[in-house]
């Protein structure tokens, strides 16, 4: 047993130290694995960042009201009357003897995306007077909140980074009306950072959508208050056709769109892995071929087939791990933590950060190891089967 470990160690050292003899091939297979891993990580980190941002947007103790069956705010409708009834529901918090509730209207407006210099959709949200108070993670970091009834808007910091022409103090023309940007808000890790906010009444009138609300947010006393609130609303015939759920649950549902990136990650990742695998197998077969006299000699001397197998395996794993680590480094340097934007729900741009979480990095390492393992397995068997015969050692 100790001898087998000695043997494996010696054969592995021989393999690894002879890598420079196959330098270009080895480098090529390292790079192939690195690219595979980087691409896989790109999409997984994208999906993760997207999921985290969308899921992180909702609170447990805020009830979200939408029309049943509408999976996006855009095709939801809540009437003014329903809004009034809901504001008086059980558990609704008050501030200055007014209910902490906000009827909202989301419209889509155009903006110029900095990265691509092309037009893209931005979410323009009309919110009620309590809209800001309902979102505890949001703080005005520059300027002030818009004043009710005015053509003023506040802009999310993420949106400013991604879109041109929305700087603090600027006046922007949207759908034929001028709007003044009076404040900038930050809402780290939430979808709101990608939005423009204005007074809901002004939004309704300037976008020609009188009295139209799509959603309503209601601040409840606690997360436990959501269920009774829903039971109460379900029992009221005037509130039929509405769906009530916690804001967190609503955004968790929205986050499922990042599944598409996970699918892309794995489809691309696996396709590229097959390519990288072909490269690895090739490199290892060539390693076995160039060392065939060496392997035959070792076998004649008394080294076991296992040692030859493991030597090849370890070389393959070493190469693929180097590729994996390189891929992870590329990912960390090139995009981890970088802000990006993509089409979120409601066909608007959503700004978020790539997120290389530890499980994703582990996934990448496992992927690299699988490539190395499969890439070394069959060449390893060929090495182990190398006959220990004198004429073979003479080549």
């Amino acid at each position: 047993m100790a001898s087998l470990l000695n043997q494996i160690g010696a054969v592995t050292a021989l393999n690894v130290r002879s890598i420079p003899q196959r330098a270009w091939m080895s480098i090529a297979s390292i790079v192939a694995v690195a690219l595979t891993i980087a691409v896989l990580l790109f999409f997984l980190a994208l999906a993760q960042g997207l999921t985290r941002t969308v899921e992180g947007s909702g609170s447990d103790d805020v009830a979200m009201v939408i029309r049943s069956g509408s999976n996006a705010e855009l095709n939801s409708v809540v009437s003014r009357d329903q809004l009034t009834i809901l504001s008086s529901g059980p558990g609704v918090m008050q501030r200055a003897s007014r209910p902490l509730a906000s009827g909202e209207l989301l419209v889509i407006v155009d903006g110029l995306k900095r990265s691509t210099n092309t037009k893209a959709n931005m979410p323009f949200r009309g919110i009620g007077a309590e809209g800001l108070a309902l979102r505890r993670g949001v703080t005005i970091t520059q300027g002030r909140m818009f004043s009710p009834g005015s053509n003023e808007i506040v802009v999310g910091a993420g949106l400013i980074r991604e879109f041109a022409g929305f700087g603090f103090g600027e006046t922007v023309r949207i759908r034929g009306s001028d709007w003044k940007i009076v404040g900038v808000f930050e809402a780290p890790g939430t979808v709101f950072e990608s939005e423009l906010w204005a007074d809901v009444a002004v939004t309704q009138s300037l976008f020609n959508r009188p009295n139209a609300y799509q959603t309503m947010r209601v601040q409840l006393a606690s997360p436990e208050a959501v269920a009774p609130f829903k039971t109460w609303a379900d029992a009221d015939p005037r509130l039929q056709g509405l769906e009530i759920l916690s804001e967190r649950a609503y955004y968790a549902r929205q986050a499922s769109q990042s599944n598409q990136f996970i699918v892309i990650a794995w489809v691309l990742g696996i396709l590229m892995a097959i390519g990288a695998l072909a490269g690895a197998v090739n490199t290892m077969y060539s390693s076995v071929a160039t060392r065939s006299a060496e392997i035959a000699t070792l076998r004649i001397i008394g080294f076991s087939g296992w040692a030859a197998f493991f030597g090849t395996m370890v070389e393959a794993l070493a190469l693929s791990m180097m590729g994996g680590i390189l891929g992870i480094l590329i990912a960390f340097v090139a995009f981890n933590g970088r802000t990006t934007s993509t089409l979120g729900s409601g066909f608007t741009q959503l700004v978020f950060k790539f997120d290389l979480s530890p499980p994703i990095v582990i996934t990448a390492i496992v992927m690299a190891m699988v490539i190395g393992f499969v890439g070394g397995f069959f060449p390893g068997i060929r090495a182990a089967r190398q006959r220990p015969q004198l004429e073979l050692a003479a080549q």
Partner: protein, 229 residues
């Protein structure tokens, strides 16, 4: 003298496609312990095949091969591998050193198959290098040495684990006369002073003179009168 090898009715054939090529047909022979046998014969006569059978690197189709009183023809692949490591030192025409290992590391290779401690391994390597007269080349790599020196390193590797038997396939086939004579002289010393049984395949009649006796192989058959010796 006791027999180191006893071959009885050994048959060896290869199949190439549908064709069966018989190399040995009922080969019976003995080799005494302490012998130094040169095997000569035309190309294709089966010399290397015989070394493979004796060295446990190939299997006979039929017949018995006894080494030191024990049969080796019925050992499994793994048992044969261990048997080789313990009993046989191989010396090749092209030395077959690992180019990236130093002389000492090359010589140490067979010791990695033993339970010896690193310290003991180092001592044995030093002894083996001393026997071949290259203790000052321990740190050199094969390409920094002449062919003759490389073959000496290979001899050191073959004897480092103190096997009874040395099998040499054309050990001087790649060397000039003078160097060849030095190598053959070393083999002679190993045979005479250390009691190694040596079986050496060669095309060179001069080389064969260093052996105690020469067997001539032709189409799988030895000259009977020589076998009796």
């Amino acid at each position: 003298m006791t027999d180191l090898f006893r071959l009885t009715d050994v048959e060896k054939s290869y199949t190439r496609g549908k064709e069966k090529i018989s190399i040995f047909d009922k080969l019976t022979m003995r080799i005494e312990e302490g012998d130094f046998v040169a095997i000569m014969g035309p190309s294709g006569s089966g010399k290397t095949t015989l070394l493979n059978l004796l060295g446990g690197t190939d299997k006979a189709n039929k017949g018995e091969i006894e080494f030191d009183g024990k049969r080796i023809d019925n050992l499994s692949e793994g048992q044969l591998t261990a048997w080789r490591a313990a009993n046989v030192g191989f010396i090749f025409q092209f030395y077959n050193l690992m180019p990236i290992l130093t002389a000492a590391q090359n010589v140490e290779l067979p010791l990695l198959l033993t339970k010896l401690s690193p310290k003991k391994r180092r001592d044995n390597v030093a002894t083996a290098l001393k026997i071949v007269g290259l203790e000052d080349r321990a740190k050199h790599r094969p390409r920094e040495m002449s062919g003759g020196q490389q073959q000496r390193i290979a001899i050191a590797r073959a004897i480092v684990s103190d096997p009874k038997l040395l099998l040499c396939d054309e050990p001087t086939g790649d060397l000039d006369r003078t160097t060849a004579d030095e190598i053959l002289g070393t083999l002679q010393v190993l045979n005479r002073d250390l009691g190694k049984t040596i079986i050496m395949v060669t095309h060179d009649a001069q080389a064969a003179k260093y052996a105690k006796r020469t067997l001539h192989l032709d189409k799988g058959h030895f000259v009977e009168s020589e076998l009796a010796a």
